[in-house]
């Protein structure tokens, strides 16, 4: 029984195993609520949640918005494409303006690493990181972990392979921090151009061989490959990329019977995953979306009630 005492959710790197478990346990309860006839609970009634998105997002924003609404919070969406400085206003100005409405929780996405951390040191409200630059995307990793725990019954002792654009992936980094706290071994697999030079300082095994990554993996997370990476010369062509790094019928045989294939979405079929596996993979991807809602409800809930919550109660 440990108390929840964290004010902000900025990343999984700084969180303990127990804190992550508290979120996942709480998410389990919230997933039940989504199955009810009346999906709304009054947990955050009278609270104000602002989605502060400085970077384009539809899925994460929708998920957070719905999560807050299901908890009966008042929700405001603020979107600003590109740098806020272009408009002559700093992100701090933006935050302070909105804070005047007595905001309780800011959900922040920004294309700069550590921007939510920066804002968290300058506001009274709680801050949830909804993706910061190439640093972390903690709620995405939490929903991946939630899905794995639900499907495989555990988070310990697993082989988790993350395949694709590791260099530009905040999802990979959050998953590495998260899974490694449960003594699971995370592997990353990509062409060398898409793995940061000093990545081995993270709790991770690195391979350029998809075979090695997939062999005996319990969980495979296939990352989206952005089209522009080809023009930036991270690899010569998408055709060549998919030949060496896509999950197909053949190499999928290296997986175990129970192995899970996940993708943060949206999938480029035949680039990351062969379309013949679509049927098999799609269901889990949709389930992830649903789990994402539960996880975000849990995070909003825990941050808003603070210390009153006790794990397991």
């Amino acid at each position: 029984m440990s108390e929840w005492s964290r004010k902000h959710l900025l990343g999984l790197s700084e969180m303990s195993k127990e804190e992550i478990e508290a979120i996942l346990d709480s998410a389990k309860a919230f997933k039940e609520i989504s199955k009810r006839q009346v999906k709304k609970v009054p947990a955050l009634r009278g609270k104000t949640v602002v989605n502060l998105f400085f970077e384009a997002s539809t899925r994460t924003k929708t998920s957070f918005e719905l999560a807050a609404k299901r908890l009966s919070a008042d929700v405001v969406n603020f979107s600003s494409k590109g740098s806020s400085l272009e408009k002559g206003e700093t992100i701090l100005d933006t935050l302070r303006n909105l804070e005047a409405y007595s905001v309780d929780i800011f959900v922040i996405r920004h294309n700069h690493s550590k921007a939510p951390f920066y804002l968290s040191t300058r506001t009274q409200a709680s801050v949830i990181n909804a993706g910061d630059g190439l640093n972390e995307h903690p709620t995405q990793a939490l929903l991946d972990m939630f899905t794995v725990r639900e499907r495989l019954g555990k988070l310990k002792g697993l082989k988790v392979a993350i395949v694709g654009d590791i260099l530009h992936s905040r999802v990979a980094r959050s998953n590495i921090w998260g899974f490694s706290k449960f003594s699971s071994q995370v592997w990353v697999c990509a062409p060398p151009t898409l793995i940061p030079k000093y990545y081995s300082c993270l709790p991770v095994k690195i391979t350029y061989s998809l075979k090695e990554a997939l062999s005996g993996a319990d969980v495979v997370i296939m990352l989206r490959v952005q089209k522009e990476r080809q023009s930036q010369m991270f690899f010569p062509s998408q055709r060549e990329y998919s030949e060496f790094f896509s999950l197909n019928e053949e190499n999928a045989k290296l997986l175990k019977e129970h192995s899970l294939v996940m993708h943060p979405g949206p999938v480029n079929w035949d680039v990351e995953i062969a379309s013949c596996l679509k049927e098999k993979v799609q269901n889990l991807i949709l389930e992830q979306v649903n789990n994402g809602l539960a996880v975000r409800m849990a995070v909003l809930y825990l941050l808003s009630i603070g210390k009153k919550y006790e794990v397991g109660s």
Partner: protein, 429 residues
């Protein structure tokens, strides 16, 4: 006008000796025990140390164009407060210091303020665009000692070759800001375990060292002098060490922030005041720089004083401008090297004064010696003080050392025998 500095321990690159200094007409007339001259004023410096006035080869005074960040006057006040009596200001102004008129204007304005000597560094190329050479002869005539395109380094090696060759005609020093812009492009922190862990966009150490290697090869082949600005990596030091062994005419500077800070300091809070270019390196880089100062692979200490307004440093680490101020903390930070026994006080006098005077060919200063100019910093090695915003004379306050305590301070700065700065506890303008 005569002045006797009484009882200071005079620091030279070879020894420390307690003596009086008689100053007459701005020059050091005599150094001896118990100088008695009833016609002279006296300055009691017993218990203090006298160092030759510091020479900073690398400052930004933002004039013309960005006087909201710094002016010649505020920059002058910051400099003398730091014990500097000669500084070079970089040409990345708006417009650039790439012609006679602008260079002369800065010289004239500095003279009018009269607190210290300011030499503008002329731009190597017109508008620092790396295309056409500036008129070196005109810049020399206006008072420039050195040329640099600073933050927009000359990318074309054949153009830099011509600059190095043509500069010989006027005995102008070429200063290179070693950065391969394609390798550093878009980065803000040194590529390291910290960037791997935090996803920050990065500048690899090779962005500096590949250009260091190029400059060394150019200098070797052309038998030309070249000075390498703000060296920040261990690898660059290895290359410079080799070049010096090969008797290539390369000199190098590093800055207090590179031998005082490392990535661990940034990771604490990602304060945008740590954002500087080249970026702060690893602990190993920091140690290598300390060692290179001691072994003279790095010849001198420069500040890279880079003032920015509050707004320019506000925002996330990405949004903030590169650069920190340094004139007022350089001595105290350098003194830490002495206190940590990395170098001795004599070596410090070399790094802050004598070495830059040699690199720049300023033979009238850089030492406390009879016949040289009476540019002197009188320092207290033990006095503690705290750097607060109100105490900063620079127009900008962007420093990660804000509210930190320091041991050792400049008590008096003498420029041509005149007291241009005096320390008081509640701070003098």
């Amino acid at each position: 006008m005569k002045l006797v500095v009484k009882g200071a321990r005079i620091v030279s690159p070879s020894e420390i000796a307690e003596n009086d200094i008689l100053i007459e007409n701005g020059l050091i007339k005599k150094i001896a025990k118990d100088i008695k001259d009833p016609s002279a004023k006296t300055l009691d410096a017993r218990g203090k140390y006298a160092l030759p006035g510091f020479i900073d080869m690398h400052t930004h005074l933002r004039t013309p164009g960005r006087e909201d960040e710094e002016t010649i006057e505020t920059g002058s006040r910051a400099a003398v407060k730091g014990g500097f009596t000669t500084i070079l200001c970089m040409p990345n102004t708006e417009p650039a210091i790439d012609n006679y008129e602008i260079a002369l204007r800065i010289r004239k304005e500095a003279e009018k303020i009269g607190l210290l000597d300011i030499f503008p560094v002329g731009a190597i190329t017109k508008q620092r665009q790396g295309k056409e050479l500036s008129e070196f002869g005109q810049l020399k005539k206006a008072g420039c000692l050195a040329l640099s395109d600073d933050g927009s380094p000359v990318e074309d090696p054949s153009l830099l070759r011509k600059a190095l060759e043509y500069a010989k005609l006027f005995d102008l020093l070429i200063i290179s800001h070693c950065e391969d812009l394609s390798l550093s492009g878009g980065g803000i922190l040194r590529e390291s375990e910290l960037t791997a862990k935090s996803g920050f966009s990065y500048i690899p150490e090779i962005a500096e060292s590949v250009i260091v290697a190029r400059e060394i090869e150019l200098a070797r082949f052309l038998e030309a002098k070249i000075h390498l600005a703000h060296i920040s990596t261990n690898r660059s030091i290895e290359l410079i060490k080799r070049a010096k062994k090969d008797a290539i005419r390369v000199s190098a500077e590093s800055c207090p922030h590179y031998f005082s800070l490392s990535l661990e300091d940034i990771a604490k809070n990602f304060d945008s005041n740590y954002k500087v270019n080249p970026p702060i390196g690893t602990k190993e880089d920091r140690q290598a720089i300390c060692k290179a100062l001691a072994s003279d692979i790095i010849d001198c200490i420069a500040t890279d004083h880079a003032p920015h307004t509050f707004l320019e440093k506000e925002g996330t680490f990405y949004e903030a401008a590169f650069g920190m101020i340094g004139l007022e903390t350089a001595f105290a930070l350098s003194l830490r090297l002495v206190k940590e026994r990395i170098i001795n006080l004599e070596k410090l006098a070399d790094k802050l004064s004598y070495a830059p005077s040699r690199i720049l060919g300023l033979s009238d200063r850089g030492l406390i010696e009879e016949g040289r100019r009476a540019d002197i910093a009188i320092v207290d090695l033990d006095k503690t003080w705290t750097l607060t915003e109100e105490k900063i004379s620079s127009k900008s306050k962007n420093t990660p050392f804000l509210n930190q305590a320091f041991e050792g301070c400049v008590e008096y700065t003498l420029y041509k025998g005149k007291i241009v700065y005096k320390y008081t506890d509640d701070h003098i303008r």
